[in-house]
Structures are given as structure tokens and as C-alpha cells.
């Protein structure tokens, strides 16, 4: 494998010469390339394929590069797509427009292979950070696995958080506060909101019934424990916005707008925005999920309950943003619904990973001796 690691790249240009040159350069670098001669064709490719990188011309007759980028950003739900725009020198206004639509980089036409190669290397470095997000999600999932009946809770709440943040970003008061980076950070860190539960005793965490006042006080400590743990990491990397947000989410997602929440009884905008967003996402998921002590409420009933909590439990603007896209919450809930396969029992009935996964890096797994020993 070379540095490009056979990564799938979609190239888009209505000029066959540009496509031919791009395809040759990218294939030489070691990428797997698919070509589209229009924005519409590119969207078709994107629907049926899996591309980590898109290199697109800016000016195209039907869907231009900016619009293509915007639509791809809306469709990228399972992993980030690095988007490079190809543009002529005179298109500086269009470049700004393209970057604003979510493009990551641009290369002036006619491209130089050396420059393109360096830009692609930068893109792959950024994409590798996604591996960090996957690892964090795996750790959050591990912490969550001690809780008995959460199923796809983490998968759902991060989707809810993203939808809610995107909706809130359209409000004038939040336009400058919530950008694409904020939304991606919230998406990545929201699964860590309950990481402090690893320190809560099983007798309380897995109790099949309502908690006593004493037990509830212990349970409340998960916010502080999670916050402290993440704060320790944040202090060693003060520039890592990722850790800062993870810490705020863990610490503040049980605070309430009227000051009656925990652990600190913060009120109003004293509560970090990410915590206010997380509160709506977390409660909606709890309401619509079955627990040992309650049935799953319907979407409509859950929306009513959240509305009733506006101004007391929840930030009224977060509730307003939630109401604007409540149908999307319902769609996510339906898509990521828990079934028998997501219960804790089913999760631990999965077979362990095969040892061949590890040793195949070092030995020839097709050798007769190994085949015989695996019988």
C-alpha cells in the first residue's frame, strides 16, 4: 500500500481533458478513481458509491461545484468527505462561496500534479482524524455497555445533537456561534456525555426500578466524574477544542434552564450551549426508549413533554429549534430503533473476533498448518 492507500476518489468535471488528466494523476498516486462529467452524475455516483475524497470543477452547467459540495455535505452521514474545488485564478469570489459551502480546499486550474498530490496528502491527514472519532466512540460505547438497556442510545443522540445544532444555527443569535466545526465537534463528543457512569456501582446503575434519594445522589455524580476525567485530559491539551467540548457536555447535560438541574444548579446561559443541546437530545431519546421502569413514549407525546419543559428544563430556543425539525428526530429514531439485536444480552452473545484478524498480518493464513490448527 502507498500513501494514497487505494482511497476512493470521485473526480467531477465537464471537460473530458481535465477528467483524463486528473484520472491519470490520481491513479498514479495510488487512488481508486471514478469519474463523473456533471454534477448530477456525481450525485448519482455518490449515492451508490463510497468516496472519501471528491475533486470537482467549480463551473459546470447543471449543478456547479459549490452546489455539489453543499449537497454532498447534506448526504454525508457515514463519514466525512474531503472536498477539493478546482477553479481558475479569476474565481476568487467563487472560491469564497465554495469554501463557505463546506469545501475543504481548492486548487487552481490548470492543476500541477505535485501541488495536487500535496493537497491530497493534507486531505488524507484530516480524514485520518476520523479514526480518532471512531476510537472515542468505541470507548464511549464500552462505558455505555455497563448500562443495561440503552441499545443505540449513543448513535441516536449524536444524530439528534447534529440536527438540533444545525437547526439552531439558522437562528440569528446562533449564526456566528454555531458553524460546521462546532457541529462536527458536538457530533464527535456527544457520545461521551455519560462516560462518568463507569464509576457508578452496578447496584445503582443497573437497578431494575426507581432509585432512592441516596442512590440518585450517587448517580448524579456521573456528570462530575465524567467532567473531571475529561478536564484532566483537556488541561494537558488546552488547544484541543474537542476535549473542552467533551468536558462541558459531560458536566452540564443534566443542568436545567431554571437552575433546578445538577450537578451545579446552573441556570439559563450559564449552562454551556452544548449542554443545553445535549439535554434536549438525551431526554427525547430517554422518552422514546423503553426502560425497565417505563414504556417507550410515542414521538408525539415526547414532543409534547419537551414543549412542556421549555423555559423550565430546556432552553426555549433549543426547544424552538427542536420543534422546527422534530420530524427529523422521528426519522432518526425509526432508523436507529432498538431491537433484540441491540440489547445488552445480544451484544455479549456476539462471537469474539477471530485470532486470524491479528495473526494474518504476520503469517500466511492459507498455510496448511494454520488451516489444520483452526479445525
Amino acid at each position: 500500500m502507498n500513501w494514497a492507500d487505494a482511497t476512493n476518489v470521485l473526480i467531477v468535471d465537464d471537460d473530458p481533458i481535465a477528467l483524463e488528466l486528473l484520472a491519470h494523476a490520481l491513479t498514479s498516486f495510488g487512488f481508486r478513481v471514478e469519474a463523473a462529467s456533471s454534477g448530477r452524475e456525481a450525485l448519482d455516483c455518490f449515492r451508490r458509491g463510497s468516496f472519501r475524497i471528491v475533486v470537482s470543477d467549480m463551473e459546470m452547467p447543471d449543478i456547479n461545484g459549490t452546489e455539489l459540495c453543499r449537497q454532498i455535505r447534506q448526504r454525508s452521514r457515514n463519514g466525512y468527505t474531503y472536498f477539493i474545488l478546482l477553479t481558475s485564478h479569476s474565481d476568487s469570489a467563487s472560491v469564497v462561496e465554495g469554501l463557505d459551502a463546506g469545501a475543504d480546499d481548492y486548487v487552481c486550474k490548470p492543476f500541477q500534479p505535485t501541488e495536487l498530490r500535496l493537497r491530497l496528502q493534507a486531505g488524507l491527514r484530516l480524514l485520518s482524524l476520523e479514526g480518532r472519532d471512531l476510537m472515542i466512540f468505541a470507548l464511549a460505547k464500552l462505558a455505555e455497555s455497563r448500562d443495561s438497556d440503552t441499545g443505540h442510545h449513543l448513535e441516536r443522540v449524536r444524530e439528534y445533537c447534529r440536527e438540533l445544532a444545525e437547526s439552531l444555527a439558522t437562528f440569528p443569535a446562533y449564526r456566528d456561534l454555531i458553524d460546521g466545526q462546532y457541529i462536527e465537534l458536538l457530533y464527535a463528543t456527544s457520545p461521551l456525555h455519560d462516560v462518568g457512569k463507569v464509576a457508578i456501582p452496578d447496584s445503582i446503575l443497573r437497578k431494575p426500578g426507581r432509585l432512592t434519594a441516596e442512590e440518585f445522589a450517587v448517580m448524579q455524580r456521573h456528570t462530575v466524574i465524567g467532567g473531571q476525567t475529561l478536564q484532566a485530559a483537556a488541561e494537558t491539551h488546552p488547544d484541543a477544542r474537542f476535549m473542552q467540548m467533551a468536558m462541558k457536555v459531560a458536566l452540564s447535560h443534566h443542568e436545567k434552564w431554571d437552575g433546578s438541574g445538577y450537578p451545579y444548579g446552573l441556570r439559563g446561559e450559564q449552562i454551556p450551549l452544548c449542554g443545553r443541546i445535549m439535554a434536549v437530545a438525551d431526554v427525547y431519546d430517554a422518552l422514546t426508549s423503553k426502560r425497565v421502569y417505563k414504556p417507550a413514549y410515542s414521538h408525539d407525546r415526547s414532543v409534547e413533554i419537551i414543549c412542556e419543559g421549555s423555559g423550565s428544563h430546556f432552553d426555549p430556543q433549543c426547544v424552538e429549534a427542536f420543534l422546527a425539525i422534530a420530524d427529523r428526530f422521528d426519522a432518526i429514531r425509526r432508523r436507529l430503533v432498538d431491537d433484540a439485536n441491540t440489547t445488552e444480552e445480544a451484544q455479549f452473545q456476539l462471537p469474539p473476533p477471530s485470532p486470524l484478524l491479528f495473526i494474518s498480518d504476520f503469517v500466511d493464513v492459507s498455510s496448511p498448518s494454520l488451516s489444520a490448527s483452526s479445525d
Binding site: D14, D15, P16, I17, A18, E20, L21, H24, A25, S28, D57, E59, P61, S88, S90, K109, P110, F111, Q112, P113
Partner: protein, 148 residues
């Protein structure tokens, strides 16, 4: 750097008040094309063949769009000519097409008609330059596989 051909000052309708392109630019820079082909001369040959076909077809589309008064389409086609010419190293063609694109965006029909004449002339120069280079066999034509 190998430079082939140059635009004759007499063939271009240079008008300083309109900021049309200068005539000192290169007509066809084969080396830059080969560099973009990462040294693959056969690919460069294939690219030039595509360019030869596309440029004729694009010029026809451009002229038809101008005659039909469809300046939006004219600007799109001119933009395409600009890009593909730049890719093959036909810098003067690219600049002339860029002028047509800008005139089309600005709705300046007379200026477009002037510039079209220039563009045609420059494209003829590009063709001659390419034929000259091919005759010198600096780039071997692609081998056609025999079907024995």
C-alpha cells in the same frame, strides 16, 4: 522549456482600451502538458487528440450560441474552452476564451464577435504548432495494438 509558435501581432485584434490579451503569450507549451501528464508522452498525445476534436466542436457551439444571442450559454462554452486550453498548455487560447467569457457575462456582443475572430485565428495557430511538433516526432504517436 520548449515553446512552439507565437501569435502574430497582426492576427490578433488587440485593443488596449478593452484590456484584450497580449500577443507575447505562448501558443502551445507542450512541456507543461507533458508535466501535467506526469511525463507520459502517449497520454499527452491522446489529450491533444481529444483537444483537437473538442475545440472544433466547442468553437461551433460558441458561435451558434453567440448567433442565437444566448450569451449565458456562450459564457459557459467559453469557460470550457478556457479550461481545456489551459490544461493542454494553449495559454493564448485560454486567455482569448477568458475574454469571450467576460464579454458574454457583460453582454458585450460586439466585443465577443471581435474576440471570436481572434480566437479562431489562435486556435489555427495551436493546430499548426501541434502538427509541427507531431511531424518532428518529438512525441511518438500511440501504438495501435494489432489484432493478430
Amino acid at each position: 522549456l520548449l515553446r512552439i509558435g507565437s501569435v502574430d501581432a497582426e492576427t490578433a485584434t488587440a485593443d488596449p482600451t478593452r484590456k484584450t490579451f497580449t500577443m507575447a503569450d505562448q501558443t502551445l507549451d507542450i512541456d507543461s502538458l507533458i508535466a501535467r501528464c506526469m511525463g507520459n508522452a502517449q497520454l499527452a498525445m491522446r489529450i491533444m487528440e481529444i483537444y483537437a476534436n473538442e475545440s472544433v466542436s466547442d468553437m461551433q457551439k460558441l458561435e451558434q450560441a453567440v448567433l442565437a444571442g444566448d450569451l449565458r450559454l456562450a459564457s459557459q462554452v467559453a469557460h470550457r474552452i478556457k479550461g481545456s486550453a489551459a490544461n493542454v498548455g494553449a495559454q493564448t487560447t485560454s486567455l482569448a476564451a477568458s475574454q469571450v467569457e467576460q464579454f458574454a457575462i457583460g453582454g458585450e456582443l460586439d466585443a465577443i464577435l471581435d474576440q471570436l475572430q481572434t480566437l479562431r485565428s489562435i486556435q489555427a495557430d495551436v493546430r499548426s504548432a501541434w502538427e509541427h511538433r507531431a511531424q518532428r516526432s518529438a512525441i511518438e504517436p500511440p501504438q495501435v495494438p494489432s489484432h493478430s
